[in-house]
Subunit: 380 residues, 2 copies
């Protein structure tokens, strides 16, 4: 960016402004939980705010299934939209970049710059596709730790994330207890229930049964976009709530489409979903969708550690767990159970339930209550 | 059937036994609510029990989206499964065929013998496919009335059905108030909410985006089975409940499939859903799925009659409306609203909510409470 743009960025009050992603590259092998490994890997990440002298102000953000490292600011002043958590992160915002150095990395296995199925395998010069190792939440966390080590970050002031990001938050606190001071998992779960596993399976089948999937070896220019869009449309419903959808769309007909009796778009909600499906295929890779949904399904703190109490007993951070009343994908009870288990194990934990009718995606919206909770928790 | 089989059928206590479907054919045109018409039509139906002398013991069953006319008994003693409501209908059962003459017809637009998109258009000698008129709940009811008129049934003792069947039940009571004495709608709604419309749209898109759909003109032997199976898998989740799925499948792994790290079936629930999807394509037509889900979406008693109260004010039957606590597709509130509106309009109506954790499909399972309610309501 030029000097004028840089000044504009600084002068915009309360906004992160222009940011540029950075690549961390490790040229040594990375071994996954499955035992498989890749010879090298890259994590693309962004940072907001300034690292202080003793590097004690680092907050790590963990992204959800279809999120990425770009959670605040813009890449260009022509950008239509800022990063996905721009309402939460910035100077004077709940995750205050005047105070904290905030970092977010695209997960390993991802498709937004970090090494994943679309990356070239150095051994073959061709994309990994389905030869990419299976990814777990633990692999995501362990690869991020290597990035933080490369920056010589001594510890994390906090780890924050919702949904799949919340799973990473929990895993961070278990995997590196001495490294993590505070966790703020939201709209998450310590293991998916049967229904969530089922929805993910339908999404995967929509992709894998698309003739363009070609057993994962598709041309990126002509991938299984139909299947991916169907998976996204369905999943998107599970991120909302019936009440939220009734309020936002109800049974309203598409403007200028009064005529009934067609299979074209008639209801507004149909138009919205089709748009969600189509636009998703422009920014997301189908194989990454397969890998990440498997990572969601495999995550089970009880299975891995014997039971939930045994899992959280390894933590030594304080925790604020936030659930949303209308979240039926990772229901509030599943969030509450995490805090209760921590309390049983003598940990410092709170559970707060926020009554917003926007379903699972509630953690992404402007919520004064969530903003205040986050601010307070980080000030302690 | 031969004499021995006939005797077996009669001697099997409490079972309808062998039944044979019958075709009602009208050789005059049928006009749909859309204004379009077809030159003739057939409704395939079944009956159980005996019509009494004054024809005063007729109960009409209305089937759901993927149901059909075969709701009790078997077509052959080799049948693996009896009709879809065999637990409810039979001698001595809640809908007692010792007392009632029970009739159920495959809906117009259907694919199990009644005229629908797979039927040949007499004018062209080829299947109607997408030239079949759009079907509404009212069309289903009006075509069934023609069948009942042909049998010279003077009135209906009761109309009973769940889900899309429940919509037909409501429509019956509004369309033909003097003809209907009792209605028992279950797990239904007087209009779908935004979320239900959205799920149906994803199902339709899965079908219509399948390259084998060919704008509806597919060879029945090679239709859009992939899309239809995806639609069914997704819809099937909406017929269950999170608690029910946790109880039935939980996170259990498929037997003999301990190895993780694959995109094959790993969790039992995945195997169950894949089976549901695949087997559905053997018995159901993709175009009918499109038509019937549109019928569901179009049904809106408030839109058609001004408001719900105005709609139910036309009824002159008594009603028992049954909702199920765990039904999140057509939630109990939406059922309750029907009974409340009837009461406001001075009608004889009750609402009963049954606490079964099997979701929308609860109306199909063995429930002593539902059985007793049905029996009592029909004895009055």
């Amino acid at each position: 960016m030029n000097a004028t743009e840089a000044n504009l960025a600084r002068e915009e009050p309360g906004e992160v402004g222009l940011v540029e992603p950075v690549d961390f590259h490790q040229s040594e092998p990375f071994e996954f939980a499955s035992g498989a490994s890749i010879p090298e890997f890259t994590l693309r990440y962004e940072t907001y705010g300034r690292l202080n002298a003793d590097k004690s102000n680092v907050i790590l953000i963990a992204h959800a299934l279809t999120g990425d490292h770009h959670c605040a600011g813009v890449h260009s002043f022509k950008d239509r939209k800022p990063g996905w958590w721009n309402n939460m992160i910035g100077p004077g915002k709940p995750i205050d970049t005047n105070r904290f150095f905030v970092l977010c990395a695209n997960c390993i296995g991802g498709c937004q710059g970090s090494t994943g199925p679309t990356s070239n395998n150095p051994a073959t010069g061709k994309p990994y596709s389905l030869t990419f190792p299976f990814v777990t939440i633990r692999d995501m966390v362990r690869s991020q730790k290597l990035l933080l080590d490369s920056l010589e970050i001594p510890f994390l002031y906090a780890v924050i994330g919702g949904s799949m990001g919340g799973m990473q938050v929990l895993q961070w606190a278990i995997e590196y207890p001495d490294y993590v001071r505070r966790i703020l998992p939201m709209a998450t779960t310590w293991r998916q229930n049967s229904q969530a596993i089922a929805f993910d399976e339908v999404g995967r089948q929509a992709i894998m049964q698309d003739p363009e999937w070609k057993n994962g070896d598709y041309d990126p220019a002509a991938g299984p976009n139909v299947g991916l869009a169907i998976a996204r449309m369905m999943a998107h419903i599970t991120y909302l709530s019936d009440k939220g959808m009734d309020r936002k769309f109800g049974r309203r007909r598409q403007a200028g489409k009064d005529s009934a009796y067609s299979f074209d778009v008639e209801f507004e909600v149909e138009s919205y979903l089709r748009y969600q499906g189509e636009s998703f295929t422009n920014r997301f890779d189908a194989n990454t969708y397969l890998y990440f949904t498997r990572a969601l399904g495999y995550f089970d703190l009880a299975e891995t550690h014997g039971n939930l109490d045994a899992a959280v007993s390894k933590m030594s951070c304080r925790a604020l767990v936030v659930g949303f009343t209308s979240d039926w994908l990772f229901p509030p009870e599943q969030n509450r159970e995490i805090a209760l288990a921590m309390l049983r194990q003598g940990k410092e934990a709170s559970y707060l339930q926020i009554d917003i009718d926007l379903g699972h995606d509630s953690f992404l919206i402007d919520s004064p209550e969530l903003f205040q909770l986050t601010r307070d928790f980080l000030s302690k």
